[in-house]
Amino acid sequence: MLTAFAILTDGLVYAAYLFIVAIGLTLIFGVMKILNVTHGSFYAFGAYGAATAVGIYANADWPAALGFLFMITLAMLVGLIMGIILERGLLRLVYGKDEVVIVLVTYATFLILEDVIVLIWGAQSYAAYQPMVAAGSIEIGDLVLSNYDILLVAIAVVLAALAYWALKYTRQGRLLTTVIFDRETAAAFGINVTLVYTATFVIGAMLGALGGAVMAPKISVTLGIGVEVIVLAFAVVAIGGMGSIEGALIGALIVGICRAAAVHLAPQIELFVIYGVMALVLVARPYGLFVRAQPRKI
């Protein structure tokens, strides 16, 4: 019983982590058809930015809640700036090229940014645990849960709801669907495609940075954290169906619960869980759980 409860909570927390990490990626893919490897850099920069912020606020002795907000704001600011620079300065030049080539552009950017981290922050690692410590914990039976983890789940739920609502029920969301389908038509019917692209990429970048920021208190902010995140996020997004927000949510839940169950019940298979689940889902549904409708061609 306790195990079942633990699996559920651990799964939820892990799913929240995956979802927060993947949502920016799936958004950018969904709209721009770009499999954005730089997402790992956004995550890393967000985390480093957050660690810097936490360093500032820990020294300044601000209240914890304020510190947390400061951390998130600073990280998202980092995402905003990076997003604008990359989209306006680089991606703009390669739109229309082969999908794979664009993936490689983002990969190259990612490589460069990895070293930019070294130039800015050096090779040492940073800690930002204060917000997590401040959040405290609650005890449920034998289990102790960190309130910060519960906060993460809440953030994920809010993000998912916001994104779903924004895409399905707002004017902008529907315009986005048009841009996704065809840029030229969208422009011909009055949609500012350039702006949509920039906005999407910047929002995606900010979400990536947000992912890094909220994870920063839990982890050691160190070189290479971006690499791990990329594949994880790709897997979640592929399971859910590329570009689908609800898919990313369900994908994150499936992987989260499966992984938690594996750790508790069969730790030896933990390493395969994510790829195993991905392979199984893709075998059953070749294009992921949520597929975008294809027009009739004949």
Binding site: L2, T3, A6, I7, T9, D10, G11, V13, Y14, Y17, E114, D115, V118, A123, Q124, S125, A127, Y129, M132, V133, A135, S137, D142, L143, V144, L145, S146, Y148, D149, M215, P217, K218, I219, S220, T222, L223, G224, I225, V227, E228, R259, A260, V263, H264, P267, Q268, E270, L271
Partner: protein, 408 residues
């Protein structure tokens, strides 16, 4: 005057300069090399290491990144030897790198000293001619941890392990669990967890451990993962329920400071850092490192220093007159050499004189609030012959057979 003209001796230093292993191991290792080589060139190392450079000839270092695939590592090794014509290579942190480089080094007849990689397989699988490792292999870490735990926790009935799912983590756990079987046969291994390397998120693992009845948990995590695990577990109070044994904790304690829970059992892959004895040469090394980098040297720096000291001695032992000794002569001199460095007394006792052994030490972590400094208290030392297999016996087999012949 003759040797003022002599071309410098070139040494290739290979260490992680980028990637996740750079900060905990690669950079301290590299830094250790830098200051020690500088001291050698200035002739300022304490006796018997006080000759300028190696036997009077200055040294020149070339630093190479170990990051990348084994393929890249081997290619860069060849480049060092064949393109840059270095006289010796000192380096490597990953056991995979060492295993791949060893045969190439022998084939190219290139003198190579491994400084941090831990796998005992290097000299167990095959006799090596030009490859040396001054630092003891990793068996000592698991055995030492088990001995310390058993000595400190009398009524241990159950323990768990959380180790990274790759060779280092698996080997570390195998050694520790094997030693526990010998030393505390009544205690059972409960949860055996192997999260992915660099997983970053350990929520489910911590829950599993929280719901277990173990009194201790063993981990060979390092840096990023170690810190993430430490922060996450302390938010959920795992250390209040059981003692954590961190076999590489020493390398991370200066960074985690008061976040590392008091009472954690700390190892440093030998008597390194705060676990090292208070000798003159240790004080010297600690001082020059502090002076330059403003932070105490951690075990990779010690391992690098020990390796360079060993190489220097071997070189000088081989050197006859003014001529540069040949690689074969240095290798022959290196075999079975003994010396005392910052991390204590080294004896090249295993692997036909190619593999060093030293004593090891474990202690209990305590953050000294007054001094605002981490401390290791309750240090227990284990002689080299107590935690290392005797010559000619494979480490795994030695543990499995009950660690026969251990002299404690």
């Amino acid at each position: 005057p003759a040797h003022a003209q002599q071309a410098p001796i070139k040494i290739g230093i290979v260490s992680f300069l980028t990637g996740p292993a750079a900060s905990p191991f690669g950079i301290p290792g590299r830094n250790g090399a830098e200051i020690v080589l500088e001291a050698f060139n200035a002739g300022k190392a304490p006796a018997p290491f006080d000759k300028v450079g190696f036997g009077g000839t200055k040294l020149e270092a070339k630093y190479v990144d170990e990051a990348g695939s084994v393929q890249n590592v081997v290619t860069e090794f060849r480049n060092l030897v064949q393109r840059d014509q270095v006289d010796a290579v000192v380096g490597y942190i990953s056991s995979g790198s060492c295993l791949a480089v060893a045969p190439v080094a022998d084939e190219l007849k290139a003198l190579t000293v491994f400084y941090d990689c831990g796998t005992p397989r290097i000299f167990e699988e095959k006799a090596r001619s030009y490859v040396f490792r001054v630092s003891p292999h990793a068996t000592m870490d698991g055995v030492g941890a088990a001995r310390y735990l058993v000595a400190k926790k009398k009524n241990l009935t159950s323990f768990s392990g959380i180790n990274q799912n790759y060779a280092w983590g698996q080997d570390s756990w195998r050694d520790f669990a094997g030693a526990m079987k010998v030393l505390a046969p009544k205690a059972t291994a409960d949860k055996v967890l192997f999260p992915k390397l660099f997983a970053g998120e350990y929520g489910a693992e911590i829950s599993t451990l929280l719901t277990s009845k173990s009194q201790a948990v063993h981990t060979s995590f390092w840096n990023g993962d170690l810190e993430s695990f430490t922060y996450q577990q302390s938010a959920r109070g795992l250390d209040k329920r059981m003692t954590i044994i961190m076999t590489t904790g020493e390398a991370g304690m200066w960074r985690m400071r008061d976040k590392l829970p008091d009472g954690t059992i700390i190892g440093g892959r030998g008597a390194n850092g705060p676990l090292a004895r208070d000798t003159d040469i240790n004080k010297w090394f600690h001082q020059i490192y502090m002076d330059r980098y403003n932070t105490p040297p951690t075990y990779p720096a010690y391992q690098m220093a020990q390796s360079l000291l060993g190489l220097k001695l071997a070189y000088e032992k081989a050197k006859k007159g003014d001529a540069k000794p040949t690689t074969d002569e240095i290798a022959a001199a290196f075999k079975g050499i003994e010396f005392t460095g910052p991390a204590g007394h080294v004896k090249m006792a295993l692997g036909n004189g190619h593999q060093g052994i030293t004593e090891t030490a474990y202690g209990t972590y305590k953050f000294n609030k007054q001094k605002n400094m981490p401390e290791i208290v309750d240090i227990m030392r284990f002689p080299a012959e107590c935690v290392n297999p005797p010559a000619g016996i494979d480490a795994d087999k030695w543990i499995a057979d009950g660690m026969k012949g251990a002299k404690c």
